[in-house]
């Protein structure tokens, strides 16, 4: 081979330069990775770039999304990023779409128009969607992710030679299971027996905030569970009470009096009630009620007309801490401060934002909402003798904030371009999966970046292989609506699912249906699975599940299972993989570590950077009746539901080679 046709020498060749100038590439995401990627692409000589991003710029982006300035806050990331790179490379031809990559206009034909797709996405659902479209359009995909100091770039393609034979094939994005950061908590833990800070934060955000300021007609997960649980037992109204009238403000009730009443109700009276459920405390430390007057100190109850300092000023609805003169986002507030912030934040909401009350949705960028959740979570933590958290930490946990720094994104952006160059130079044999490590892990070969050959495609992959999945579910208690929304859309990341069985059951969604058809399909949703047409969706029924936009199809075999343990499986179903054509066998529910679990995505996270994607799938967030889901900044400690069968083997093998990287290792230990 001559010097100039060999990798890496070819990287500086004029032939490659020409190819880069003409290649149409698609960048999905213009956030943390996207900004770095766009910059490095145009500097390297790419001139035909399309960018998709639906987000607008936020202040907390500015520490790393270096193409944005303070005056851009609130405007489109994709548009501003494109304008910003044109400042130093005016010849770059950048097409901008402000939209969601899952929209139907970005279909197979759209994807098929690009030489390469480069992902800088922030959630697993969208990444799976792009993966499936790249598979169906036959376009190579370069994937990436960062979290703090960790990051990785992987390459996914099926390349055929001129005779149409498969020449190079790597694993697709879904061949290996993905770590999700979403976590679910049993509702009884949240309502009655919290024992971790996150339980208190979930309670404050999902229950108390929603109850006081959210839409009254929307039952939260917790309400529904409470109603179910308490249907037969009128006295069982323990820690929150579905008896929502107690939370209604009286017609002439002053805001602060109402706030004090709420305090007494949830941190005092409800705790007294829950204490009466003696069986809960046989093996647990008993909670302690909090008296408002004691929390506030002497002056607390003396002045009924608002003894709180600052509370005489008109509420602006901006911040309770500012009104009270309380500072310190990084320290733990005293109990008195928590009580004051709770009462004042309720008053600020009611008086300062009356139009929002009854409509509010928790937003981690909203100071007042974060202050309320911090105060409420810490008061509840005091009830249960759980460590309290600063406002800063509470905000991170409640908002599922991904830790992000500029340097890792810059390295990842560079590595994506390196892999793009290899593919354009027709050097797929040089493709690498590259990992950025936080620490040196091998004292002999001290590496901060490690690289391995891309993995092989997994024949058992649901996206690119011939997998048949097994779904363990209670077919008499689960309605079709839950199957469609929680299993197919949430857990398997389909956008517009179609379901068919050999016996004639059919369910369809998506464009192209007329009104009657939509109504017919909709009518099926409330019915339990086993009462559906065609003899029902029952034990050992095989469903043909499809998403036409994604060109994704998979067979799902139903295994009926009742008596779910809520602690172990709060979502009430499991998805497992099995060898194609294998005899139907029930997955061992005690420890089904071999079952497949294509992961659900990150929930409530907002940020543009992403998660580390390799590692065994952890239990995912399912918004079931009986669970509350929330992201947690730490790697989930939830039980492993399953991994795609091949992946565990791959991980061990790589580990044995001494080539294991930080992110994987860390997650193996999680």
């Amino acid at each position: 081979m001559t010097l100039s046709s060999r990798w890496p020498s070819v990287a500086t060749s004029s032939q490659l330069k020409e190819k880069m100038r003409n290649a149409k590439v698609l960048c999905v995401g213009a956030g943390g990775i996207g900004c770095e990627l766009l910059k490095t692409l145009v500097l390297t000589g790419f001139e035909d770039i399309t960018v998709i991003d639906m987000d607008t710029i936020e202040t907390s982006n500015l520490n790393r999304q270096f193409l944005f300035r303070k005056h851009h806050v609130g405007t489109s990331k994709a548009r501003v990023a494109a304008d910003a790179v044109r400042v130093f490379r005016p010849n770059a031809n950048i097409t901008v779409y402000q939209g969601n990559v899952k929209e139907s206009r970005f279909d197979k034909t759209f994807f098929g128009g690009f030489a390469l797709v480069l992902n800088g996405l922030d959630n697993v659902e969208a990444r799976r969607h792009v993966n499936r479209l790249c598979l169906s359009a036959g376009v190579p995909l370069i994937e990436s992710g960062t979290e703090g100091y960790l990051g990785q770039v992987t390459v996914h393609y099926r390349l055929k030679n001129e005779a149409g034979e498969m020449q190079y094939a790597t694993e697709c994005f879904e061949c290996a299971p993905k770590q999700s950061r979403t976590k679910t908590y049993p509702v009884c833990t949240i309502r009655n027996t919290p024992d971790k800070p996150i339980h208190c934060i979930v309670w404050a955000k999902e229950l108390l905030f929603a109850r006081l300021f959210g839409r009254p007609d929307v039952m939260t997960d917790l309400d529904e569970a409470a109603a179910k649980e308490e249907g037969a037992d009128a006295n069982g109204d323990a820690a929150d009470g579905h008896n929502a009238t107690a939370f209604l403000r009286g017609p002439d009730e002053p805001a602060e009096a109402y706030a004090r009443r709420i305090f007494c109700r949830v941190f005092d009276e409800d705790i007294v009630k829950v204490l009466s459920m003696e069986e809960l405390w046989e093996a647990r430390e008993k909670p302690k009620p909090l008296q408002l007057a004691r929390c506030l100190g002497d002056g607390g109850s003396a002045d009924q007309n608002g003894a709180l300092q600052g509370a005489h000023q008109a509420a602006t609805g901006e911040s309770a801490c500012k009104a009270l003169g309380i500072t310190g986002a990084y320290r733990i507030w005293s109990l008195a401060e928590c009580a004051k912030v709770l009462i004042e934040s309720i008053r600020q909401y009611l008086e300062g934002r009356p139009a929002e009350v009854g409509e509010a949705v928790f937003d981690k960028e909203d100071d007042l909402a974060v202050e309320f959740v911090t105060a409420a979570a810490n008061l509840r933590a005091a009830n249960y003798n759980i460590p309290q958290q600063s406002l800063f930490v509470t905000k991170g946990m409640a908002g599922n904030i991904i830790h992000a720094i500029a340097t890792t994104n810059a390295v990842v952006g560079g590595l994506i371009v390196v892999e793009a160059m290899k593919l354009l130079a027709s050097k797929p044999e040089n493709s690498r999966a590259t990992f950025i490590l936080k620490h040196v892990t091998n004292p002999k070969a001290k590496r901060l970046l490690n690289a391995i050959a891309p993995g092989e495609p997994s024949p058992k992959c649901a996206a690119c292989g011939t997998a048949r999945l097994e779904l363990l579910i209670d077919t008499s208690k689960t309605c079709l609506d839950d199957l469609v929304n929680k299993v197919l859309k949430k857990s398997l990341s389909l956008v517009e699912p179609t379901v068919r069985t050999d016996a004639g059951f059919e369910y369809e969604e998506g464009e192209g249906l007329d009104e009657d058809e939509v109504a017919v399909n909709k009518a099926k949703l409330p019915l339990p699975l086993d009462q559906q047409a065609g003899g029902g969706l029952k034990h050992s029924t095989v469903m043909y599940v499809e998403d036409q936009v994604q060109e994704f199809h998979v067979q799902v075999e139903i295994c009926h299972k009742n008596d779910w343990d809520e602690e172990q499986d709060p979502e009430g179903f499991r998805i497992g993989g099995s060898v194609p054509q294998a005899a139907a066998k029930a997955v061992d529910t005690a420890g089904s570590s071999d079952a497949a679990s294509p992961s659900a995505g990150i929930q409530s996270d907002d940020d543009d950077d992403l998660v580390i994607i390799n590692g065994p799938a952890a239990k995912e967030g399912h918004e079931d009746d009986d669970v509350v889901s929330i992201g947690e900044p730490e790697v989930s400690q939830a039980a492993v539901v399953g991994t795609l069968p091949q992946a565990e083997g791959n991980l061990s093998k790589r580990s044995a080679d001494g080539d294991i990287d930080g992110p994987r290792k860390r997650q193996r230990g999680a």
Binding site: W7, A11, L43, Y149, G328, I401, T407, G414, V417, D607
Partner: protein, 332 residues
């Protein structure tokens, strides 16, 4: 311990990174004074961007090269419609100020001196020299040693890149403590660049040592002797010298084992693959993705140094497109 709260503006902008390194580290960064010399390079632009975003106290840029269409092709901080009256440092500083108004950013007068003033460099906590000739790197390293200023020098040539780090004696604590345990302080001692470049090959383990270590050694010798960087035409000469050094090392090993064959793992005669040498000597223009990777790792190092948190790279870091591996080598 608590010196002062971060301002509201800092807390809002730095929120995501505070979750990575904490408030105390941010305060230390906010007090750090950094100098970057050599703004025609993409690596310098990458590092400047990364540490300006992180929020250091002051960032000074040194390079009097006038802006021109070809002066700094890898520096994305310089707009295409630059003012011809500006130096590359001035144009870069302007963009960086917009990027993070919370950092004091200055383009210093004058150019990069062959013999830097010791006092001048001593005014900074960290000095980074980018894409400079070797004799200048050695002079800066010496001057920074005299004032105990942390010194970095970085090169990005074609598909190959590396940086050298000299922190003299540096105290650091790990980034994460094992659950709840107090952070153990460690001391790291560094070697001057001059002796690092003369690292005896006998001590290198050929199985793990990055091949660029051998290439860099023979190229450095060449540059100091000839006063210019080697070109492809010099490859044979360099390869000859590499073989000579390898043979010397083998002879030294043989002296340690007079009556036995050379142990397994002794450096082979042909330790330097020709293609590695060729990549290093033909590397001319910077490749932006390589500079982005090097600049990211290097900026992380500067942040580690200033915050005294995290084990520093002691003392070379190599990254090349041959294998995408980024490896630390301790030389000297």
């Amino acid at each position: 311990m608590v010196s002062e709260e971060l301002t509201e503006a800092e807390a809002k902008v730095y929120d995501r990174q505070l979750r990575v390194w904490g408030v105390e580290t941010q305060r230390r960064l906010n007090a750090a004074k950094i100098l970057i010399a050599g703004l025609t390079s993409g690596v310098a632009a990458e590092v400047a961007k990364n540490i300006a975003l992180a929020g250091v106290g002051s960032l000074s840029l040194l390079d009097s090269t006038p802006c021109s269409p070809d002066a700094a092709p890898g520096n994305f901080l310089i707009p295409a419609d630059f003012m011809a009256s500006q130096s590359v440092a001035e144009a870069s500083a302007e963009t960086l100020r917009e990027m993070n108004p919370l950092v004091r950013i200055a383009a210093l007068p004058g150019g990069i001196a062959d013999e830097p003033e010791t006092e001048y460099l001593g005014g900074f906590d960290v000095v980074l020299l980018v894409q400079a000739p070797l004799h200048m790197q050695l002079a800066y390293d010496k001057a920074c040693t005299d004032t105990n200023t942390a010194f970095f020098t970085a090169c990005s040539r074609g598909t190959i890149s590396y940086f050298f780090e000299n922190l003299h004696v540096h105290e650091w604590t790990p980034m994460d403590a094992p659950s709840g345990a107090p952070l153990q302080k460690s001391l790291a001692s560094f070697t001057p660049l001059e002796s690092a470049l003369q690292h005896p090959w006998k001590k290198l383990s050929p199985r793990y040592t990055h091949k660029l270590v051998y290439a860099l050694r023979v190229c450095s010798e060449f540059e100091l002797r000839e006063g210019r960087r080697p070109a492809l035409a010099d490859a044979d000469k360099l390869q000859h010298r590499a073989r000579e050094l390898a043979l010397e090392a083998r002879a030294e090993v043989a002296a340690d084992y007079p009556r036995a064959p050379l142990p397994k793992g002794t450096i082979p005669e042909d330790v330097l693959p020709t293609e590695v040498l060729e990549e290093l000597v033909t590397g001319d223009m910077e490749l932006p993705p390589v500079s982005a990777v090097l600049g990211g790792v290097l900026a992380n190092e500067i942040l580690k140094v200033v915050s005294h948190k995290g084990e520093p790279v002691n003392n070379f870091f190599f990254f090349s497109l041959m294998d995408n591996i980024g490896q630390i080598e301790t030389l000297g």
